[in-house]
Symmetry: C2
Amino acid sequence: MQEAVDALGYHPRASARTLRSSRTHVIALALPRPAGQRNAVDGPFAIEVSDAAVRLGYDLLLTTSQDKAEGLRRVALSGLADAAVLMAVDMEDARIDVVRELAFPAALIGRPADEDALPWTDLDWEEAAALVVSELAAAGHREMVYLAPTEAEVVARRSYALRGIAGATRGARSTGAAVTVAHAVDDPAGLARRLRVLLTERADGGAGGRPTALIVQHPSAHHHILTSVTDAGLRIPEDLTVVVIGALPGDPAGRRLPRVELPVETLAGEVTRLAVAAATALHETAAGDVEAGPRLLADAVGHLLIAPALLPGDMPLTAPRA
Amino acid sequence: MQEAVDALGYHPRASARTLRSSRTHVIALALPRPAGQRNAVDGPFAIEVSDAAVRLGYDLLLTTSQDKAEGLRRVALSGLADAAVLMAVDMEDARIDVVRELAFPAALIGRPADEDALPWTDLDWEEAAALVVSELAAAGHREMVYLAPTEAEVVARRSYALRGIAGATRGARSTGAAVTVAHAVDDPAGLARRLRVLLTERADGGAGGRPTALIVQHPSAHHHILTSVTDAGLRIPEDLTVVVIGALPGDPAGRRLPRVELPVETLAGEVTRLAVAAATALHETAAGDVEAGPRLLADAVGHLLIAPALLPGDMPLTAPRA
DNA sequence: CTGTTAGCGCGTTCAG
DNA sequence: CTGAACGCGCTAACAG
């Protein structure tokens, strides 16, 4: 058989197979791209999801559209994919309504406000931030700066940004440490300026003294955070302890600092599994029963919230100098 | 009409359309991923190619396989895409033979040894390296280090790596400057060590004195190059001029240094155009004439070699101190 | 120019 | 158990 296949060069047409079986063996990755924004984690996620899909016998269709929901709707309606994986999830995400309305199988990388709407998986950003704050407090730090994602991310109600800030606030409350939440800016010069102000010239009149720890949740800032801090005239870790949240595994830039890594491979594998599971479940049930589809998708919402782990860098958490 | 479409919620099935018309309106992006390697430019390229494809009315299928050629062959044979865009091109790339054998329309990001095999587009890496060397020489530098991509990239005969090195060598010959070609390592600590040796403890006995300029072609190293150099005890630009080749536009890390940027958007747009052109040409001709396909694809090989531009950073090219 | 029909290639089903 | 035929949804080609 196989030799005949090879000899004749025969290969089934995917389109005919799909037309007949109504399965595409394709997963769509919905990657919204606000004009002009560059997100360092998009690429790695896309590649890992693709790998995970291949392992499950699926191909990956990359859907990048300015208008978040439009591309996804088109893909679902034209039957280009069996399921969708949604990246860069907002608290209330328009795409969630779209896939529910169309009864289209989907899974999210990111934890939306309505946790039972769709299957999702995410790092527990809130717990990560709270954990770092409390570990730093335990090491003796009383004044910290939490450098959250940019203002734009917060305005967009991006899930990871809001949850990170919530965790930092909770950590501050439960430990009694003073945590100033600031927003990153993409421009490195601007970021350096902001850090200088935050770390050396306390705007609040210096009620509690100079901050001794900096927590950085903005992924794009990880690379130049050291330079920025050094430029501000501070030595690490003598003057300032720096901890990174959401560092990419294998990223050399983050390896020196204590950090909570973003488990890209795990998240990608899990979200793909969830998406494929929803697709197969729908396919097996929807035969003849048009009501069953939406009901089934609503019931089969699994979650995986990944607990944060604080990894030591080359330089471990340091106690502030007296 | 449109209101009827919206009201009835009708949308044509892509699979039926494809089966009938033998056009998928999908472009495959072949992104080989040697196990465990992370390439910083893959993500941005994938996203830009996706955007370019959408603009031309195509969707993008991301094909990441360990075995470079196998995924591509499957996509072509099963008719999942109308054309392929090939990334991370080697001088003699196995995938080139595959698409030619199958008469499958394809275009490359990268300049292969056989320039007439397929349409391609690339930054002129050779000219970029030669340009930087000669500009540095003109500024008075006599001893330079060219930090090329890793040994592994060279062994794989990756096009951009070999051409960059060739350009550095040519630049050295034509200017009389001494250019030491070294290979980057992915481990940042190892890189720092290597740089220290190269920049301060010349292994050749110091025949020509300490290097006064460093040219970095390794994309992954751009982020921590400043830190590594600073750690080696050298001040920029007083002790050493650093120039970066292949920096990503908009990457904050590279913006401070003089650099030749990798025009990701242009390359992505152009390669997508080439791929779509090949696909439509094949489609229009192949009707009934089985011979015409391969002939046509062989004839329609357009190229675009992008001339490098040396951009000033915050700190312009500096003459070496006497 | 508009309406009708055949068939793209596969998987499933039904008859032999 | 093996083989033929039907139909998935669309578009191109053809007839009116």
